[in-house]
Amino acid sequence: MMASSYNAKEEDGHHSVSAASGPSAGPSAKSKKPDNTAFKQQRLPAWQPILTAGTVLPAFFIIGLIFIPIGIGLFVTSNNIREFEVDYTGVDASSPCFTCSQTYSWNSSIPCKCAVSFSLEQPFESNVFMYYGLSNFYQNHRRYVKSRDDSQLNGDKASLRNPSKECEPYRSHDNKPIAPCGAIANSLFNDTLELFYIDPNGTRTQIPLVKKGIAWWTDKHVKFRNPGGNNFNLTVVFQGTTKPVNWRKYVYELDTDPENNGFVNEDFIVWMRTAALPTFRKLYRIIQKKSNMTPTLPRGNYTLDVTYNYPVRSFEGRKRMILSTISWMGGKNPFLGIAYITVGSVCFFLGVVLLIIHHKYGNRNNSADIPN
C-alpha cells in the first residue's frame, strides 16, 4: 500500500523529472491496463449478512437457552458457598477491639490484643479459606502501586543494595537500603489472627491454620526470590539492609521456616499483589478438611484472637476476617449467576419480540422482494 501511495505521489511531484528522462523512461511496452482480478476489482466473494429479525431470531433464542441454565448453575454454586464475615475493626465502643483501635498506631511497641467471638450457624464442610478483608484501603493508588522494586523482590543483589527510585521515600532509612523497599511493603498487613473453636462444654480448641499455599505458585517460586539463592542464612544475606520503617521485624524474621521467610514469605507475597479495588480481601490461612466424617468447621461458637497491629483509623477503614468455602468459580458472588439469568431472559424476550416483528414486517418485505 505504501508503494502505491508512493507511485501516486511520484506522478505528481516528479512529472517533469520522470518525463524529462525522455525516451528511456518513455513509453513502455507494458500496458497500464489494471489486472482483472477479483481482488483489484473488489469483487472478492463475500458473505454479506443482513441483520434481519428472521436471521437473528435463532441466535437470540440460543443465547437465551444457553445463558439461563448457566446462570442458574452459577447462582446455585454461589449459594452453596458458605461464607462468614466478622468485622473486628473496633469502631463501636461495644466492640472488643475498640480500645486497640483507639490507642494503636504504627509506632506503638506493645502489641494490643483482643478477642472477637462469633458463632457459625451452619457447618463449613470442605476446605475453608480464611481471609482478612480491608475496606477503604486504596491499594490501587497509582503512586502506592508503583512504590516497589520487583527486581529486589526477585532476589537481585544489586537492587537489594540499591533499590529502585520508585521506592522513594521508602527506599533507604538511616543510610541503609530498605528491604523490601517501597510503600506497599511498608504498609504490610501485620495483624495476627487465630481461630478457636469453643466447645459447648467451654474448652477452647485452636483450629490449625495452614499458611502455605496461599500465594500464587508462580509468585512464590519464580517472581519472588530471596537474594543469595539457596543460602538459607537470610540474616547474612540481608546484612546491610534495614527493615521498612513501619515494620517491627526484619524481613528475614517473618517466619522461622526458611521456605517461608524473607521475600518468599507467603503473607508478604499475598500483600504485595496489590488489590484491584479499595474493598478487598486477601487470603490469610487455609483450614484444611481433616476427614470426611467431621466438617472442617462445625457449627458452634468461635473466638477470633486478634493481635491488633494494623491501624486503619487514618483512612476510616474496616478490618474483617472472612471464612469462606470455595467452588470452581471462586468465592461467593451471586452477581454472575443473576446476570446470566437476566441476560438470558432478556435475550429470550427479545427473541419473542423479534419473532413478532418478523411476522409483521419480515413477510411484507419478502413479498416486496419477490415480484409476482
Partner: protein
C-alpha cells in the same frame, strides 16, 4: 480553439501579477572564459544544470526529517504527552514506555520518506548524467557532456528527438526557415508541435553556426515559472538591440522534433528552468469529512478536558475525605506530603497522559493509509481504464477520495467533456447558399443517432429508406474497423520509434474523411475552369468567393503539416523544394510539376463520387455490406499507396482547425506545407499556390477570431482571411457596402448559422478583406512598432489586430459537429437521479449549447426552459423573482431534497431548465443578484450557462460552493476550465484532445465523461461510506477503551492508575485493533457496484452525509460510554470484594473490550471476504498470543504492572470466560438490536439495496426496475397511465412523438425572456393542470413586466 483561448487567459492571469521589471538577468557567452577558474566565470552566480530534488542528504536526514515530522500537530501532541510523562510528579506510566507509540510512528514515516527520497535521488542522478553536446572552444566543436555540466552561457546543440537539457535561446537551426519544432508534451501534455524561431538576425546564410563569434550580451528576465512569458534582448557589440521572446526559447524537458539539429545559448539552467519551476509537489486539499473530523476531534479534546477535570477534582475531594494521611498515599521522595489542592492540580496532567488516547491521533495515520488503499482500488478499476489511450484514472490529489461521495453540484464544460472534441465537418454555407453535405451526414449517420432527431425537425431532412440506412451503418462499421486497425498501427509506431507518446491527434478517418457535398463540388469544379480567368481578373468577383472560401479554410489556421507515415518527420524535401522556388518572384508553380499526381487525385475524387452515386442508386443490391466494406477497403488501400500529398497529416492546436483543413482538402484545396512566412496550397486542378504570409493575428478569446495576412501569389494583393465566431465576424462586416447583395448574403448566412447552432453544430464565419498596398504598409509599420515594444506588448498587438479586422467581406460559414461522447445522456441521467445538479458552463453560443443540452438529456423534451438574456439590472431582478415565484411551489420536493429529506415526493408537472448567458451572468454578479439566481437555480433541474468566460466559470462555481455550502465538482478538459477545476471542491480533468492543463490542475483525471458515473456513484459512495464509518468507529473505539480507565478512577481514588498493563494498552491500539478498521476502511463493500450503478439514488446518503453527522458522532459516543460502562462494571461486580489484584482485574476488561470493539466492527462490516476474516481472527489471535507470551516471560519487567503469569492464570479460570461472554453480549446488544430492526423494517434505501444484492443478477435487475418505477413515477410516465386512459394516452403519445413545439417569445426593449416548452395537448389531468399554470405564469409575466412593448408570438 479552446487551447488558444486558454493561453490568452493564462496570459491575462499572469499579467495581473506585479512585475519585477527592474530585475534583469544579464549573461554572456562562456566560451572566452573556458578553462578559467570558477571565480572568473562571468555567469557563475546562476544555478548550473545539475538538479537536486531530494530533500535530505545522508547526514541531514535524521534531524531534518524529525523537524519536518514535528510540523504535524499530531506528532507534537504525542511528544508533549510523552515528555509530560518524564515529569515525575505527574507521570502515569514508565517514562520510556510512553515513547513507544510516537517512536513507531516517527520511524515508519521516516522510512517511507527515506525511500521516497532515495527514489528521487536516483531519478536526479539519471537525469543529471544524460548526455548532451556542449560547444568547446578548444575542440572547436560540440563535445559530449552530461546534463549536469551545462552552465548558463554555454552553447548547447540538440539533435532531433533529443530532450532539451536546459532553457536555451535558439540561435541556430538546421531548418532552412530558421525554425525548430518542439513537442511540449512533457511540460503541458500537448502533443502537437510548436514552432520556435531563431533569434532574428542569427540565421546564418550557409547554415553553419559559430559560437565563438557570439559576442552579444543577453538581457532577459529573471527565472519565472510562467511558461508563456519570456522576453529580453540581445545587446550586440554594435549597440544594436534585438528583442526576443518565448518563441525563441527552447524549454528544458521538451523534445526536438522534425528538426535535424538546433543550437543556442543556455539562459536558464537546472532549478531555474521553467520546467523545474513549474514542477510542484502534490496538491493538498482537505476533504469535507476531514474538516468534520477535526471539529469532532475538538469535541474529544473538550471531553478529555472534562474528564481530566473530574479526575483532578475527584482526587482533591478524595484526599480531603481522610482524617489522617493514609498509608497508601505515599509522600513524595523528600518525605513531604503535597497539599490536596496541589495534588489535584498535578493529577490533571496525569489524567491527560492516562487518557491521551481519547484524542485519536492514530486516526490521522489510519486515514492516510486508508486513502492510499482506496486510491489503489480506484486506479485499478478496469472500468475506468481507457483502452484507446492506455490510461487509467489518475488520482492526483491523495486525500479527497471521500469527497467523491458527497457531490451535490457538478459543473461541466461542454466541449471535450460532454462531447468528444473530435470535430467533424458537417455543413457549410457559402455566399448565402447552404450546402448540407447529406452524403457526409449519411456517412456519419450511425454515430449521431442521438441528435439526429433534432436534425430531422430542423432541417426537414427527407426520410432515407431504411435499407439504405442499414447499408450505411454497415459501411460505418467497416470504417470503424479500419480505424481500429490504424490505431493499432499507430501503437506499433509508438513502441518502435519512441517518438510519440500519443497517437497523432485528429486523424481518425471519421474526422479526416469528409465526403464532399455533390452540389458544392460541382460548383467548385465549375469554378476550377475559371481559374485562369481568375488569374487575370484583378478584382475579386462574386464567383471567386468559392475559391476564397476554401482557400481561407486551408490557409487561415496554424496547422502544422507532416506526413502520415512518419508523423513527426516533416517533409523536409518538399519544403526545401518549395523554399528553393519560393522566392517572391516565383508566383505560380508550373502546373506541370505534379501533373500525374493531380490527375490521380482527381480520378480518386471521381471514384468516390461514382461510388456514392452507386450507393444511392442501387439500393436493391444483394450484398450491400460486402460491397461497401470492399469499397472502404479499397479506399483505404488507396490512402496507403497515394503519394505524399494524400498522406499529409495535420496537427492543429484546436480540432476545429484540423476539421476545416480536412474539409478544404476534400474539395481539393490541400494544404501542403506551412512555414512561418509561407503557406503552400494545392488547388483542385493540381496547381500549387504558394502564399507569402505577411502576418498571423493569432486567436484570442476577446477578439474571438484569428486572421492571416497573405499576399496572393497571382493577384499580388494583400488579402486578409479571417475566421471566427459569428458574433465576432458579423459585427465587422462591411455593412455600408455598395451592393445590397452582401447584406442579403449576410442575413442568409446568419439564418444558416442559427440553424447550425440549433442543430448543435459549432459555427464559424469565414471572411476576407483585400487591403491596398498602402494601407498594408501603414499597418505593418504600426505592427512592427508594437512588436518591438517590451511593455504591454500584448495589448498593442491586439489593438493592431483589431485595427486590421474591419470591413470584412463575408465568405461563408461552417458548421462543425462535435459529437457527444459515449453514454453521456445516461451518465447525466444517472447523476441527476443521484440527486446531483448538473450545470453546464460553456463558451459556446446559446443555441448550440441548448441543443447539446437537449441531446445529452440535460434538458428533457418536456422541460420548461427559461432563458435569461438581458443587460438590464432591474428587469433581471424582477424576472428572477417572478420566475422563481412560479417555479417554487410545484417544485417543493427539490427544496426538500436540498434540506435533506430522504426521498423526493412524487414530482408532478414538468421540470425546469435555466439557460443563462454570460452577459447576464456578469450582470448578476455586478448587481448582487446572486442569491436570487441561486434561489431560482435551485428549483431548476439543470442550469446551462453559455458564452461564459473561464473566470465566470470559476465565479459560478465559487458562488454555488460558498453560498449553498454544498460540495461541488468541476469537470473539464481544456485550459479554459482550469480556473473552475481549481475552484471546485473536486476538480476532474479529462485527458482528451486539448492538452494536459486541465489534467495538471485536477484532482482526478479521467478519459471519458461516462467514467464519472462509476467514479462518483460507486467509488464515491464506497470511499465516503467506508471512511465515514471508519472514522466514526475510530472515535468510538478510543472513547470506549479510554473510558474503561476513566471508570476505574472512581475506584482507585482518582489516582490515575491503569488496571491494564501499559504494554498491552499500547499494543491494543497499535496492533490488536488497528488493522481491522483500516481494512474495513479500504475494503468494506456495503452495496455492490452493480446495484449502486443501477440505483443512483443511493448516492444521496453520501450527499446528505448520512454516515457521519453530528448526531451520528454523539450517538456513537453514547454507545461508547454504554459499552465501556458494561465492559467495566460487569467484571467489577463479578470481582467485587474478592482478592483479585489490579492487573488480573484489568485482563478480562482488556479482553472483553477487544472482543466488543472487534465485534462492534463485525456488526458494521457489510461484506465478509476472506481478508476480513483473516484480519479479524488474526487480531484476536495476535492478542492472545502476545498477551500469553508477554505474561509468560515478563518476570520482573515493566513495573509496576508486572504481568507475570496473569494471563495464564486468567485463562485457566472459567469465570474469565463467563465474564467475557456475558459482557460482550450485553455491550453489543443495543447496537445489534438496532441494526436488526433497521434490517427488518428496511426503512433506509441502503438496507433495501443490500437486500437486492443478495438476489441473482436477473432478479436484481428486475427489482431495480421495479424500484425505480416505485420511487420516481415521473421518470417513467407510462406507469401513470391507467387502462381507462389508454386511448387518450395513445393519442397523447402521438402528439408527443411529433413534438409539437411552441415557443413563446416575449421581447422587451432591453431584455428577452423566452419560454420554450413542449406544449402537449393531452387529456391527462396532470398535464392540463400544468397548462393552466402555464397560462397563469404567462399572465403573470405580462402583468408584472410593464415594459412590454410588443408581444411576438411565434410557433413553428
Amino acid at each position: 480553439m479552446g487551447s488558444l483561448e486558454v493561453w490568452s487567459l493564462i496570459k491575462q492571469g499572469w499579467r495581473r501579477k506585479p512585475e519585477q521589471e527592474d530585475k534583469v538577468r544579464r549573461l554572456i557567452s562562456n566560451l572566452p572564459y573556458e578553462d578559467l577558474r570558477r571565480k572568473y566565470q562571468p555567469n557563475r552566480q546562476y544555478a548550473n544544470n545539475s538538479i537536486k530534488t531530494t530533500k535530505y542528504t545522508v547526514w541531514s536526514f535524521i534531524p531534518m526529517n524529525l523537524f519536518e515530522q514535528f510540523h504535524r500537530f499530531a506528532n507534537v501532541y504525542f511528544v508533549v504527552i510523552a515528555m509530560l510523562n518524564f515529569v515525575p510528579i505527574v507521570n502515569a506510566f514508565e517514562p520510556g514506555v510512553a515513547l513507544i507509540p510516537i517512536c513507531v510512528i516517527l520511524i515508519l514515516t521516516a522510512i517511507k520518506d527515506a525511500w521516497e527520497d532515495f527514489r528521487r535521488y536516483q531519478a536526479d542522478k539519471q537525469l543529471n548524467n544524460m548526455p548532451c553536446s556542449i560547444y568547446s572552444r578548444k575542440e572547436k566543436d560540440f563535445v559530449s557532456k552530461c546534463w549536469k555540466d551545462v552552465r548558463v552561457g554555454d552553447f548547447v546543440k540538440v539533435v532531433c528527438n533529443e530532450v532539451i537539457p536546459a532553457d536555451i535561446l535558439l540561435l541556430h537551426s538546421s531548418d532552412p526557415n530558421g525554425v525548430c519544432h518542439i513537442e511540449t508534451a512533457n511540460l503541458d501534455g500537448e502533443t502537437n508541435l510548436k514552432q520556435r524561431q531563431i533569434v532574428r538576425g542569427f540565421a546564418a546564410p550557409d547554415g553553419s553556426f559559430q559560437p565563438e563569434y557570439f559576442s552579444s550580451i543577453i538581457y532577459c528576465e529573471k527565472p519565472s515559472n510562467n511558461l508563456n512569458r519570456f522576453k529580453g534582448y540581445l545587446d550586440k557589440p554594435d549597440k544594436k538591440k534585438i528583442g526576443f521572446g518565448k518563441e525563441n526559447l527552447l524549454l528544458r524537458g521538451c523534445t526536438v522534433r522534425n528538426t535535424d539539429e538546433a543550437a543556442g545559448i543556455v539562459v536558464y539552467a537546472g532549478h531555474e528552468t521553467k520546467a523545474m519551476l513549474n514542477n510542484k509537489g502534490p496538491r493538498y486539499k482537505r476533504s469535507k469529512l476531514e474538516r468534520k473530523v477535526n471539529t469532532d476531534v475538538l469535541f474529544c479534546v473538550a471531553l478529555l478536558f472534562i474528564m481530566c477535570l473530574i479526575g483532578a477534582l475527584g482526587y482533591f475531594i478524595w484526599l480531603e475525605t481522610f482524617p489522617d494521611i493514609p498509608p497508601f498515599v505515599p509522600p513524595d521522595s523528600n518525605n513531604n506530603y503535597i497539599s490536596p489542592a496541589l495534588s489535584g492540580f498535578y493529577m490533571f496532567f496525569t489524567m491527560v497522559i492516562l487518557l491521551q488516547v481519547l484524542i485519536p491521533i492514530s486516526l490521522y495515520v489510519s486515514i492516510e493509509l486508508i486513502k492510499v488503499g482506496q486510491i489503489f482500488f480506484i486506479t485499478n478499476d478496469i472500468d475506468l481504464y481507457d483502452e484507446e489511450t492506455d490510461s487509467r484514472i489518475q488520482c492526483r490529489a491523495l486525500n479527497i477520495t471521500e469527497d467523491l461521495g458527497q457531490i451535490k453540484y457538478i459543473f461541466s464544460d461542454k466541449t471535450g467533456t460532454l462531447t468528444e472534441n473530435k470535430m467533424v465537418f458537417r455543413r457549410c454555407s457559402v455566399m448565402g447558399i447552404e450546402y448540407c453535405h447529406r452524403e457526409n451526414a449519411l456517412r456519419l449517420g450511425a454515430q449521431c443517432e442521438t441528435i439526429s432527431d433534432d436534425e430531422d425537425i430542423v432541417f426537414q431532412k427527407p426520410k432515407v429508406p431504411s435499407r439504405l440506412q442499414y447499408r450505411q451503418k454497415k459501411g460505418i462499421s467497416s470504417l470503424r474497423r479500419s480505424q481500429s486497425a490504424r490505431t493499432h498501427m499507430g501503437a506499433r509506431y509508438q513502441s518502435e520509434v519512441f517518438t510519440i507518446t500519443n497517437e497523432v491527434a485528429f486523424s481518425s478517418p471519421l474526422e479526416t474523411d469528409v465526403a464532399p457535398d455533390r452540389r458544392l463540388l460541382r460548383v467548385t469544379c465549375d469554378e476550377k475552369t475559371q481559374i485562369q480567368e481568375w488569374c487575370r481578373v484583378s478584382h475579386c468577383n462574386g464567383s471567386a468567393s468559392f475559391m476564397d472560401f476554401f482557400l481561407a479554410l486551408a490557409i487561415c489556421n496554424t496547422v502544422v503539416v507532416s506526413t502520415a507515415m512518419l508523423p513527426r518527420q516533416r517533409v523536409s524535401r518538399l519544403q526545401s523544394l518549395l523554399k528553393r522556388m519560393g522566392s517572391l518572384s516565383h508566383i505560380v508553380n508550373s502546373f506541370q510539376s505534379i501533373p500525374e499526381k493531380s490527375s490521380k487525385s482527381r480520378s480518386s475524387l471521381k471514384d468516390v463520387k461514382e461510388e456514392e452515386a452507386e450507393d444511392y442508386s442501387d439500393s436493391g443490391s444483394n450484398n450491400p455490406s460486402r460491397r461497401n466494406s470492399s469499397a472502404s477497403h479499397h479506399s483505404e488501400e488507396e490512402r496507403g499507396t497515394v503519394s505524399d500529398p494524400n498522406g499529409l497529416c495535420y496537427e492543429a492546436e484546436s480540432p476545429d482547425e484540423a476539421a476545416l483543413v480536412y474539409a478544404a482538402k476534400a474539395y481539393g484545396f490541400t494544404l501542403l506545407a506551412r512555414a512561418p512566412d509561407r503557406v503552400t496550397v494545392r488547388l483542385p486542378q493540381g496547381a500549387v499556390l504558394s502564399f507569402e504570409v505577411l502576418d498571423t493575428l493569432a486567436f484570442d478569446s476577446t477578439r474571438k477570431r484569428m486572421s492571416v495576412v497573405v499576399r496572393h501569389p497571382i493577384t499580388r494583393e494583400v488579402v486578409i482571411y479571417t475566421k471566427g465566431a459569428d458574433s465576432a465576424i458579423m459585427e465587422l462586416l462591411d455593412c455600408h457596402g455598395r451592393s445590397n447583395k452582401r447584406k442579403k448574403i449576410a442575413s442568409k448566412t446568419q439564418r444558416h448559422l442559427d440553424l447550425y447552432a440549433s442543430a448543435g453544430l459549432r459555427t464559424l464565419c469565414i471572411a476576407k478583406k483585400v487591403l491596398s498596398e498602402q494601407a498594408y504598409d501603414d499597418w505593418a509599420s504600426i505592427r512592427q512598432e508594437a512588436e518591438s515594444t517590451i511593455d504591454n506588448r500584448e495589448e498593442l498587438l491586439m489593438e493592431t489586430a483589431v485595427h486590421l479586422e474591419t470591413n470584412l467581406t463575408l465568405l461563408g460559414a461552417t458548421g462543425i459537429e462535435d459529437r457527444l461522447q459515449d453514454d453521456v445522456p445516461a451518465t447525466i441521467a444517472a447523476l441527476r437521479e443521484a440527486g446531483i445538479q448538473v450545470w453546464v458552463l460553456t463558451g459556446d453560443k446559446n443555441e448550440t449549447a441548448v441543443n447539446i443540452a437537449y441531446s445529452c438529456r440535460l434538458f428533457n423534451q418536456g422541460d420548461m426552459v427559461f432563458t435569461l438574456n438581458t443587460d438590464s439590472r432591474s428587469i433581471l431582478d424582477c424576472t428572477l423573482g417572478e420566475v422563481r415565484r412560479y417555479t417554487a411551489p410545484s417544485q417543493s420536493w427539490s427544496f426538500q431534497s436540498i434540506v435533506g429529506a430522504v426521498m423526493p415526493t412524487e414530482s408532478t408537472g414538468p421540470t425546469f431548465g435555466l439557460v443563462i448567458e454570460g452577459r447576464t451572468l456578469s450582470m448578476v454578479f455586478e448587481a448582487h443578484l446572486q442569491m436570487k439566481l441561486l434561489e431560482l437555480a435551485r428549483h431548476c433541474r439543470s442550469v446551462l450557462c453559455c458564452r461564459v468566460t473561464p473566470l465566470q466559470k470559476s465565479a459560478v462555481v465559487k458562488l454555488v460552493r460558498n453560498k449553498l455550502k454544498v460540495m461541488t465538482l468541476s469537470i473539464g478538459d481544456g485550459a479554459n476550465d482550469v480556473n473552475m477545476i481549481q475552484t471546485a471542491d473536486i476538480g476532474i480533468g479529462i485527458s482528451g484532445q486539448e492538452g494536459m492543463q486541465a489534467v495538471m490542475a485536477s484532482d482526478f483525471a479521467i478519459t471519458h465523461f461516462k467514467h464519472l458515473k462509476k467514479l462518483l456513484l460507486v467509488h464515491g459512495h464506497w470511499c465516503y461510506s467506508r471512511l465515514a464509518k471508519m472514522v466514526i468507529y475510530f472515535f468510538y473505539k478510543n472513547v470506549m477503551y479510554v473510558n474503561l480507565l476513566f471508570w476505574y478512577q472512581f475506584y482507585c481514588g482518582f489516582s490515575g492508575t491503569a488496571m491494564i498493563d501499559y504494554w498491552l494498552m499500547i499494543f491494543f491500539n497499535l496492533f490488536f485493533t488497528s488493522t481491522p478498521p483500516i481494512m474495513f476502511g479500504i475494503m468494506d463493500r456495503d452495496i455492490s457496484a452493480e446495484t449502486l450503478l443501477g440505483l443512483p439514488e443511493l448516492y444521496k446518503t453520501g450527499q446528505n452525509s448520512e454516515f457521519y453527522k453530528r448526531a451520528t458522532f454523539w450517538i456513537v459516543m453514547l454507545d461508547a460510554f454504554y459499552q465501556s460502562l458494561v465492559c467495566f462494571f460487569i467484571p467489577y461486580w463479578t470481582y467485587q470484594g474478592s482478592d483479585i489484584d489490579i492487573f488480573t482485574f484489568g485482563t478480562p476488561m482488556n479482553t472483553v473490550s477487544l472482543f466488543t470493539i472487534l465485534l462492534h466492527l463485525a456488526i458494521e462490516i457489510k461484506s465478509w471476504t476472506a481478508i476480513h476474516w483473516g484480519f479479524m481472527v488474526g487480531s484476536v489471535l495476535l492478542y492472545f498470543i502476545v498477551a500469553l507470551i508477554f505474561s509468560a516471560i515478563c518476570i520482573n519487567c515493566n513495573p509496576p504492572s508486572n504481568p507475570y503469569w496473569i494471563m495464564e492464570n486468567q485463562m485457566a479460570d472459567p469465570v474469565f470466560y463467563l465474564v467475557c461472554i456475558i459482557t460482550t453480549v450485553v455491550a453489543l446488544l443495543p447496537r445489534y438490536i438496532i441494526r436488526v430492526l433497521q434490517g427488518t423494517l428496511a426503512l433506509s434505501p441502503l438496507v433495501q439495496a443490500r437486500k437486492l444484492d443478495r438476489l441473482s443478477t436477473e432478479a436484481r435487475d428486475q427489482q431495480i426496475k421495479n424500484w425505480k418505477s416505485q420511487r420516481s413515477p415521473s421518470e417513467v410516465p407510462t406507469n401513470l397511465v391507467s387502462p381507462v386512459d389508454s386511448f387518450s394516452n395513445s393519442f397523447e403519445q402521438s402528439f408527443y412523438n411529433s413534438s409539437l413545439e411552441r415557443e413563446i417569445r416575449i421581447s422587451f426593449p432591453s431584455c428577452s425572456l423566452s419560454f420554450r416548452l413542449q406544449f402537449l395537448f393531452c387529456t391527462n389531468i396532470q398535464y392540463r393542470s400544468e397548462s393552466t399554470s402555464f397560462m397563469k405564469l404567462f399572465a403573470l409575466c405580462i402583468s408584472s413586466l410593464k415594459y412590454c412593448s410588443f408581444l411576438d408570438f411565434t410557433s413553428y
